[in-house]
Each structure stands twice: as structure tokens, then as C-alpha cells.
Amino acid sequence: MSSATVSPTLPTARNPLFFWLERIVSNYLLRRILKAIFSIWLVTSITFILVRAMPSNPVEIMIQDLTSAGYSPDEARTQAATLVGFNINQPMPEQYLEYLRNVLHGDLGKSYKSRGLRVTDMIVQVLPWTLFSVGLSLLITFTLGIMLGAIMAYKRDTWIDHLLSNLAATLDAVSPYLVGLLIILLLGVIWRIVPITQMRGAMSPGIQPAFSLEFFADVFTHVRVLLLVYVLSAVGSWMLTMKSSTIATLGEDYVTVARARGLPDLRILTAYVGRNATLPLFTRLAISIGFAVGGSLLLESLFTYRGVGFLLSRALSERDYPVMQGVFLVIAAAVVFANLLADYLYGWLDPRIRIVGGE
């Protein structure tokens, strides 16, 4: 798979094609974009191979299921073909090309279990909830992580640093899924503060989406514990990154010079240390925004929060292959583009990188 795209860059022959490839390779942004496209193509191909080209693949099983459900073999084949969105009677390479064409047009096929529903529509329907919950948690985590990390770096080797560092390392080590279970146990069962069972779904039945206080209050009631778990399970690594980044910045000459010039501490913290120390965290933030599209497969299922992760988990347990494939593709594409954004953003935020030139 990879050799086909990579080998032309090897200096085998001096021809115009090679010249253009060389030009493309030497352009930083263009190279990043090409890499992103290649990644998405790779993911698309992997999902196609998984769903179509594996022996005893899901499409054949789908046809068998339909046949045993009372369809004639021919009907079953046409039915399956409309569901996956490409003609399954064609030879494999043509199926592959048709599939790629459909994906390019945003057509991800139709759901197998919820008959007739288009996968794209299903994703669009749940996407706002995931973007909202993960986006909000990301904002909180980022702010909290930067503040606590900076405190840890400034109060290095005091009790507060030891306490926060150990806490951060522990939070970072335990998986979000276990954190979620623990929070449910603590808040819902042991302390009985939050009625966990009433919080399923993104909003209560009967509540209409509207620009009203009631709606926002209800949405918040449903998302708050999930939000807490997202923040708890991610804040640790943000804190540790910010701490080490701040410590590194504090040792820089320009900070010493700023101190020697007698600048106020607050100005040094914001204009000299903070701005430089948060640079690497912005890259991470950009990458995390990509993950915001997918949400968390495990946490959304644990809290029955109807987002993209929940959609995928339901598709997985119902073996709804078109949905599975489509959701995974969208999640992967979002992460790939977020990485692209992060690369670009870093060069834009940090002029030093631009001057050195790329890498």
C-alpha cells in the first residue's frame, strides 16, 4: 500500500515527474496536506478492506442475514448493495473506486439496523452533543491545566507541587473508563449526591431544544458528570506538560534578563513565561479538538450520552457495518485534519520555527 506512493520520491530517474515531486516534498505546508490526504486514504482503505475484502466479510454475512430473513438471494444482494452504497456485484477494484467516490461526495452508505437512515445524517444528528460536551470539557481542562501547571512550576519542590504532581500522575495513569466508574460509584452510590440514572441521554424527554433557561439547565444537568470525568481524566497530563514547559521557560535567558530589569512579576508571568510556556500546549489543544469529534467511545456509552462515541458503540454491538465504517472514517478524518491544523498553528504561533524552516 505504502510503497506505491512512497517509491516515486526515490531518486531513480531524473524526469519531470520527479522534479515536481521534489518541489512538493520540499514545501512544508503542501507536504503536510499531502500527508493528511494520504492518512485519510489509508484509513478509508483499511475500513474498505475490513468490511469488504476480508474472507467471510460483513457484506456477505449481511446478505446471508437478509436471505434468512425471507429475501430471495437476488433481492438480498440488491438490498445489501443499497445499504453499503456501492455495487457489490462488480469486481473488487471497481467496488473500491466506487466506495472512494462515494466517500468523497460525503455519502457513507445507509444504516443496516435503522433501515433507510443515511449514515451521514445519523452522524450529523449526534455530532452537536459530542462537540458540545468534549469542547466544553477541553476548555475547562486547558484552563485548569495551564493554571495548575504554572503554579506547580513556580512553587517547585514545595508541598503544593508534590501534592499536585502526584495527583496529576495518578489521574494521568488511570484510564478514563475507570475514572468514570469510580465517579459514578462515589457521586451516585456512596455519597448519593447526583441521581446518575436520571441523567441518561443528552437531555430529558419532553424538553425541546430552544433558547431558554430551562433547556440549558437540563442540558447541563445531563452533561455535568460526564464533563467532570472528561476533565479529571485529562487534566493530569495537561498539568504535567505545562509544568515541565514552564520550568524550561523559567530557565531561559530572556526571563533572567526580564527579572534583572526589575519587571513586575505579573508581567514576567504573562508576557514572558506564560506566552512561551503555553506554546507546546496549543499544539496539543489543536490535536485534542480533532478528538472532540469522536468523543469517547467508552465514556459516552457508560453515561448513555447520545454523541458520536455512543453511536459508534451501538453500531459495534449491533454489528451495523455501514454506520461503524462511516463513524470511524469521520473520527479519523477529524483527527488527521486537527494534526494538520496543529502543525500549521505551531509554525504560525512560534516564529522561531518558521525561520528555521519546517522541521
Binding site: V6, L10, F38, L178, V189, G294, L298, S313
Partner: protein, 295 residues
């Protein structure tokens, strides 16, 4: 015969040294002991206390008592006995995934660093691309389509998905170590590539590799637990992940009386992870060649 005796004596000496070094770090030694206990309990324990086959209706969701040190679950089965019987899968998955992923990562990373040039940049570019693909959703989709039902295949799949990040780190380690004086001296003395890799490079990377391997292991445990929760890996055997999901599905999570049936497997996983991590941190002293020669 003499060679064998020599070999035995040398191995004995090395093991003794390792122990001496291990004991220097209290937390590390504690972690080491806990790992040994968990592994023994998971492999030998089931022979002494085999899993209960039938439900016990009289003792459903009991708390801690002398009869049931960690309470009972929704079927009235003893939690302690269940957790002992459920460790084997977890330990196998953790070690298999960890060792396999590390092996691939070290081979590819070291190869890439030594090859250099275009091979190196192409390999690392591919690794970078691979790193941008969200792994857990991919694992979940693959496990569903491939209908995974045994732990060995699952471990292999997780290892295949997990090695690229580590290989990039191994590569940069090798690159930085190669510029050290003692390696350059060894290269100049023409001690042979194999000798340089195994006698000079690897011992200096061992603690780093082990710490990363333990990261992979805990990651594998969590991934397995997650897959069980999503209903992708079947409930064929009652491991810790299955215990958590079964308890969750039975609504045990909302029943304060049954809290021990979910706390037990969760505690087991966290304890195993803590033991692994504290053991890994102490390994720096065990593998450090300078400390080794001074003992």
C-alpha cells in the same frame, strides 16, 4: 560439565546482583513483590480455589464478612475467588501485548536509526501517519469485524496497533546514544555491530524500554476492559474486565450493597498497574551498567 557449572554460577551471581539492586528501592521492590503475588495468584490460585460453577441464591450481593472477605456478587459468588480466577487472562494479555509491541518497536526503531537516510525518513513518516489514526476506535472496529474471541489474537492485534509510538522513541534514543563517546569508541575499535547493539546500546536503553513496555501493558489491560464493556470481546471467561462489565450490566453500579463486586476487579486492575509502574521506576537502578558493576 564445567561450562554448565560456570554458567549456573554466573546466572546465580547476576540474579543475586539484580535482587540486591532491586531491594535498594523500597517502592520498586514492593511493586515487584505485588507483581509476583498477582501472577502466582492468577496461575496457581485457580488450582486451589477453582471458580464456582453455580449461583448461590442465599448470598447475593453480600458485603464484607469472614465467609466472604470481599463480599459476593449478583450471583452470590465469592468476589475474592472470582478475582483470583479472573487474573490469568489479564496477565497474559498484558505481558503478551507488552512484549510483542516492544519487540517490534525496538527492532523497527533501531533499524531505522541505523539505516538512516531515506529508509529512516520514510519509515518515520509512515509511523507519524500511523500515529494520527485514532487507535481505540480502530481496534474496536477491527475486533468486531474479525470477531475476535481469543486473548492471543487480541493481544497480537493490540501489539500491532500499539508499536509505532514506541518505535519513534527508540529511534531517537538510539540516535542520541550513538553519538556518545563510548559507542563511538566501540565503533572505532570495530567491536562488531551485534556486539555494539547488545553489549553497549541495549543495556543503556533497558530501563527506558521497560518503562515504555509497562506503559503498553497497562494500556492493553484498559483496552481489553473497554472492549469487554462495549460487548466486542465475548464473555467466554470471567476475567477482571468481564467482572466489571457484568456488574455494570446488572445495575450493580447503582446498588450500594453490591459495591464490592465492582470495587474488587477495579481494585485488582489498579493494584496491578501501580505495582507495574513502581517496579518500572526502580528498573533504572537494576539496568544501569554503572550501578551494576559497583555492587
Amino acid at each position: 560439565m564445567k561450562a554448565l557449572l560456570d554458567w549456573l554460577a554466573r546466572t546465580g551471581r547476576e540474579t543475586g546482583k539484580t535482587f540486591k539492586l532491586l531491594r535498594r528501592n523500597k517502592m520498586g521492590f514492593f511493586g515487584f513483590l505485588v507483581i509476583i503475588i498477582i501472577v502466582l495468584a492468577s496461575f496457581v490460585g485457580p488450582m486451589i480455589w477453582p471458580a464456582e460453577q453455580s449461583a448461590n441464591v442465599e448470598a447475593i450481593n453480600k458485603g464484607i464478612s469472614l465467609d466472604h472477605l470481599l463480599g459476593t456478587d449478583f450471583q452470590g459468588q465469592d468476589n475474592l475467588r472470582k478475582v483470583i480466577n479472573g487474573g490469568r487472562d489479564i496477565v497474559i494479555i498484558a505481558f503478551l501485548t507488552g512484549v510483542l509491541a516492544t519487540l517490534i518497536a525496538v527492532v523497527v526503531g533501531a533499524f531505522s536509526a541505523f539505516a538512516g537516510g531515506r529508509v529512516d525518513s520514510i519509515l518515520m513518516e509512515l509511523v507519524n501517519i500511523w500515529l494520527t489514526i485514532p487507535k481505540f476506535p480502530l481496534l474496536a472496529v477491527m475486533a468486531t469485524v474479525l470477531k475476535l474471541n481469543d486473548i492471543v489474537t487480541l493481544s497480537v492485534l493490540m501489539a500491532i496497533l500499539d508499536w509505532p509510538g514506541l518505535s519513534r522513541e527508540v529511534r531517537s534514543q538510539v540516535l542520541s546514544l550513538r553519538r556518545r563517546d563510548y559507542i563511538e569508541a566501540a565503533v572505532m575499535l570495530d567491536l562488531g555491530t551485534r556486539n555494539i547493539i547488545f553489549k553497549e546500546l541495549l543495556p543503556n536503553m533497558m530501563s527506558f524500554i521497560f518503562i515504555r513496555m509497562i506503559g503498553t501493558m497497562t494500556h492493553a489491560i484498559y483496552q481489553q476492559t473497554g472492549l469487554v464493556f462495549l460487548g466486542i470481546v465475548p464473555y467466554s471467561s470471567a476475567n477482571w474486565g468481564v467482572m466489571i462489565s457484568a456488574a455494570e450490566r446488572r445495575g450493580v453500579l447503582y446498588n450500594p450493597q453490591a459495591i464490592w463486586s465492582i470495587l474488587t476487579p477495579m481494585g485488582a486492575i489498579v493494584l496491578f498497574q501501580l505495582a507495574l509502574v513502581s517496579f518500572a521506576r526502580s528498573l533504572d537502578e537494576v539496568f544501569n551498567p554503572r550501578l551494576r558493576t559497583s555492587v
